[in-house]
């Protein structure tokens, strides 16, 4: 199949960016979208031109590196799919595809399609941990966790930190990412000691970088792990509770 790629090219953070158009023929339907870029880059290198810089690592949808705005949607048109798992058979023969980097003030552009997502690391550093005794691993099932809780925490923990939620959000808000990272620990018994500190610190760090949530739901639709905006509501609930909570009574039940 044939495709026409329009790709954002920018030599560096301060350089002037522009769209460049490339015609590619003999594209296999079984290629992933990243393999399409591998083919493009091989050709650019053969011609002595600069290859397109793009983030990628595992190519199996679990590392969260790939980050392309494809035809106005993060990770392209397929639901629950990262760019690396998007295959060319999902596009029509002769398709014209526009590819752009994530755009957000907190994700400064590094080069071409590569952005710096380390603002996410700042959020996780501020509360994405639990206090656990070191030493040998505890026996399994020592802490009983209801099935629904374990399932929900696992749904939140599926977040790969790709940044599609921020890229999709009209406000560049990171509430879905932060909610996933907060709630996967706040739902579990192991996360309870830091529950109120965690949600306060992670939200406050988030708000230093990103916009605010207006409940469009774009993030949920863009998320390659289909993480629900239910977690945003649960995070909001925990955040407000944490502000009113008398912390020294935090160990009391009921």
């Amino acid at each position: 199949m044939k495709v026409t790629l329009t790709v954002w090219r920018q030599a560096g953070p301060a350089a002037q960016g522009r769209f460049e158009t490339y015609e590619l023929d003999e594209v296999s339907e079984d290629m992933s979208f990243l393999e399409l870029f591998d083919v493009l880059n091989e050709r650019l290198i053969a011609k002595g031109e600069e290859p397109v810089a793009f983030d990628h690592d595992c190519r199996e949808g679990i590392c969260g590196s790939c980050s392309m705005m494809i035809d106005g949607r993060p990770h392209g048109p397929e639901l629950g799919t990262a760019t690396c798992q998007l295959h060319m058979r999902k596009f029509a023969d002769g398709a014209k595809i526009t590819v752009e980097p994530w755009r957000a003030g907190a994700f400064p552009l590094v080069r071409d399609l590569v952005v710096d997502r380390s603002a996410f690391d700042r959020i996780v550093e501020s509360g994405g941990y639990i206090t656990a005794p070191t030493g040998s691993a505890p026996d399994g099932n020592l802490i009983l966790i209801p099935k629904a809780v374990a399932d929900s925490a696992m749904d939140a923990a599926a977040c790969i930190g790709c940044g599609a939620c921020v890229a999709a959000c009209p406000n560049s808000a990171a509430n879905l990412f932060t909610a996933a990272k907060v709630m996967h620990l706040n739902l579990l018994p192991q996360g309870q000691p830091e529950r109120w500190e965690r949600v306060t610190n992670m939200v406050d760090t988030m708000e230093q970088f990103f916009g605010s949530c207006t409940n469009h739901g774009e993030c949920e639709a863009a998320c390659p792990k289909e993480i629900s905006i239910d977690f945003i509501a649960l995070m909001n609930r925990d955040y407000i509770k944490a502000q009113f909570k008398q912390r020294r009574l935090a160990s009391q039940r009921g």
Binding site: T6, G72, S172, G211, R237
Partner: protein, 251 residues
Amino acid sequence: MTKVDEAPKARLEKPAHPVPKEARTRPFIVEFYGSAIAKKWLMAITGIMLMGFVFAHMVGNLKVYLGADDLNHYGEWLREMGEPIFPRTVLLWIMRIGLIGAFAVHIVSAAQLTRMNRKARPDKYESPRDYAAANFASRTMRWTGVIVGLFVIFHLLDLTWGATGADWTRGEVYENLVASFQRVPVAIVYILANIALGIHLYHGGWSMFQSLGWNNRKFNDWRRLFAIGFAAIIVVGNVSIPLLVVTGVVD
């Protein structure tokens, strides 16, 4: 001897390592309002107050269909409300002040969050976006909000202060309303503003549940139905009055 005595004192006065200044603690309400999530929570709370007002206002206004006596009597009752514990119009003024406060918090929070969101994406997307979930209502909240805000000012000028040129007598609610709505452009303004309000409520009536953290899979589907139902009732109830006056059904 003196040197031995002074050494510990000097240590107390000048720590060996630079020590950060003790962080000044801000009052709780300032600290709380500083957060965007708290602002959205306040917008939801004030939104519920404003929705309660809009609903009660509509129910009251529907008395226009019972005739001039019923509507004017209801208008008079609003001033007498709370008597004898509250003197005349005092409870009404307490409610008005609460309403003005709710409006102020709702609008100021929205303006500050809008500024925050504009700053969060200094470089816009160069290619067109393909929205998957955001709807017309959610993307026009700022516009419908501004339209409703301006309309409230017009509405006060029109029927509270009688300043838009129609025959107006204080206390004659029914006659004032009919005189104003018989002017076609005014009726159109009322109808369009209420449609904008309905669009605003379609998103706000759902979004407030998320902002308040009221999320439970048992009732999540009902949240959207509530927003649709509430918006529909308000639009139908409020639009019917100028529509039926301007078409001559009510006079």
